[in-house]
Amino acid sequence: MKKLAYLGPIAVVLGVVFITSAATKAPVRVLEMVAPEQVNDDLQAAVAEVDGHLRRRWEDVGLIPSKSTDELTVLRRLSLALHGTIPSLEEIRLFEQDTRADRLLHWTAGMLEDPRFFDYFAERLARSFVGVEQGQFLLFRRDRFLHWLSEELKSHTPYDEIVRQMITGEGVWTGEGEVNFLTSGYADGEFDPNKLAARSVRAFLGQRIDCAQCHDHPFDHWKQSEFEGLAAHFGKISINPLAGVFDNPKETFTVEDRLTLEEREVSPEVPFSPEWQGETKASRERLANWITHTDNQRFERAIANRVWGLLFGTPYVMHRPVDDLPDPDPETDDLLDILGRDFRAHGCDLRRLIQVIAASDVYRLSSANPLDDGADESAQQLELARDRWAVFPLIRLRPEQVIGAMLQANNVHTIDQNSHLITRTLRFFRERDFVDEFGDPGVDELQERSGTIPQALLRMNGKFAGELTEANPFGAPGRINLSASTPEKVIETAYLMTLTRRPQEEEVAFFREWIDTEQRAKGIEDLFWTLFNSPEFSWNH
């Protein structure tokens, strides 16, 4: 009897877990929820303008763009960009059942209403707004900020309004999530307006004025005085435990003069177009007006470049940090101007911006291109094609995408808020641990970087690689093993789940003998391992 005494408590725990997870489990989704019947049908004009612009850039230098890739590959790209994971087998099946000619448009619209999008995009944008640090103890709550941003995305708040709320926020940071944008300016118990000024210009206007904090910018036109004037907008911020963040009229913003070492007071100024600040007296409101003003092109160019970067893995203006754009050129329109204008004309709607990019020809180009024949002679031409977006770039997945994709590939069903609580909890911890070990690029996540040996070791030999390829009854490899499928079907399923494509004949021919044996489970494990470690899995293509 004594031996069984522990069964009681375990049964209670299991019961509670079962009941709570059953209660939180929403009804099974149907196709309509994934891809709505109605989609924006006025995308056409904007998409045509984007296509036309890029086509001219290709024709100017006689470039022949890549062919269009297949729709499943586009679905994979979208899923990685918007949800940080690859399509589940369940989604692939639903997608293939969808017979509408423009099904990708419907699916894009559907993915943008999925809670996975709110949370995933909130985290991506938050990195530019508040960074990745945990910040000042007690004064900064990154989780509250994320929750707020996710809710704003969910409720379709226009982007300019989101930015305005962050800059003008007031109140307690635990209650008002957006206020954490301001309290992220605290370090070592002191509030630093410079930090917020620098961050605002980088995140909202896509330019780096930070260097002007100490000296006039060596390459651009920013002056130290301009930086100080911007920072002064945050100079009245005070904090008290009851009211939270508020502007204290008695506070002044002073800086130490680098030459005389004397403190001098600086009043809020903007570097250009002061008329955009509006009539209000409140300095943060004036700054918000100025940053989001309809004539401030930097604002829409910055977000267009960032959203492009999140969709393609690298910003539209290549080889530069996403928040280091050249000044807008008043003479000619570039693609960011075109995207930005449409974004403004549609109420700073982030979904619209994403849909226009996702529906354009360039987003559906193949990453294979005849210019890429491996020969040195064509290398220069290929470089040109890449610079002009005539070929879809091969971009390394970010760590959260790698583990997100691996976890999804281990499940037949979609992992989302409908998933079992245990699945979601497991996903949360596994993702966190993996990203930590893989190395989180933090705020610079859109910068090009090389892979590392420890990452290769982690993918090959790590705990996750072991768990997620293991043929146990809880994961996909095990379930496929238990199914009565033919070896061909097993291989096809594994390919769809990991690479979102069907295998080629020669691939089936090679892997067939791994599966068609007594040791089928081991064969399936090895197949999943091989798929997870392939370049195709780790590189967005």
Binding site: R202, D220, G439, P454, A456, N461, D526, T530, L531
Partner: protein, 441 residues
Amino acid sequence: MIHNPSFQTLMHSLTRRDVLKVVVGTGLTFLLPSLEGKAVEKRGAERPKSLITLWMGGGPSQLETWDPHPQSSVASGVRAIPTRLPGLEIAELFPRTAEQIHHLSVIRSMVSKEGDHERGTYYVQTGYRPDPTVVHPAMTAVISKWLNNDELEIPQHVALASGDGFVVPRGGYLGAEHDAFRIYDPGNNIHNMRPRVDDERQSRRLEGLEVLSRQFRQGRPGQVRETMHEQMIQRALTMMSSDQLKAFEIDSETEETKKKYGDSRFGRGCLVARRLVEQGVRAIQVTLQGFDTHANNLEGHRSQAEILDPAFSALIEDLVERDLLDSTIVLCIGEFGRTPWLNPLDGRDHWPVGFSCVVGGGGLRSGLVIGETSPDRAFEEKEKRVTESSPPKDPVSVPDLYATILTQMGVDPTEEIFTPIGRPIRLSEGSPLTRLVPNLA
């Protein structure tokens, strides 16, 4: 930022050259005959230099380590003991280190401007304050890149007994490939270094990988080559099968040796660090977390010292015995020190102005005690902002410390490198402490 197109071209070519360098480097590693035996045999000052940083995570109290002030009006009760270095007294918690510390020097006047763990760690590991426009490389990353050892098949930059994510030294703008290779529990397992299946399955997995790679290369051979995905796997496999991996193992060490270092993650880390130095690894960090004693400072430091004292002293003793100290700089430092007075919880809070570090070996002058703090004066100025309180006598900045170490290791601290966005940054903005570097004095 870079408007000049030719400048941009230069940056492009630099990146490509870097890529090429790695590729060539890879090739060489495979082709060169193993010279490892000779490198291991070489001893004394002739040996290429290495750096071992003992990272005291959380910020150790200078008073309960290398700068006790038992006579001070704010003393907490820890007594001072003499060391083998005449005139130097350290906290009584370190009797074994007292026997070895004369091989090194003590700096009691380290100053920093960062009083937060994450920012302070960044500053003390890189020599630069956090800057949103650029991520600086840790000094250990700089050393592992500049003194790169071509004969190594194991990582050039290793973090042992690593703690919080931000305590692991990073490559910053030098690239993620210069991040430290992390071993969480040194001596007990080599992380991710063993295949999860037997040889037969492993080799068929690799064959399968080639089938998939071939498929993926179609239509994009040049781009796939540039990803270096296969090279990374190849290099990982080389590492997995390398004999040099034995440097991470401590099974072959005697029980006596293991006992001397102490059976803790940190102790085993120090032992592995010594083995890595023998193998030719140039930059190693061993982390001991747990110095953040906001409450019960003395108790906290007593238990930390039980780990640190045997490990630190055994490491120095071993390096001396094996004639490796002349080629190995050892630096024991944390992100800051702790307030000279106790708070109401008998704890000490963060204190970046006047904390201690121990540094020596690698040919640096030994037996020096630099700087002097005054807990009493600090207490008088308690109401001031920490950064505005009077600095210690003879203050030493972190950049100065790193300029010293770089210089001694044969790397010019004034060398400028271009960050990925084309900004020139010096390896260190400090000036070497001439007192410590024999060739400069």
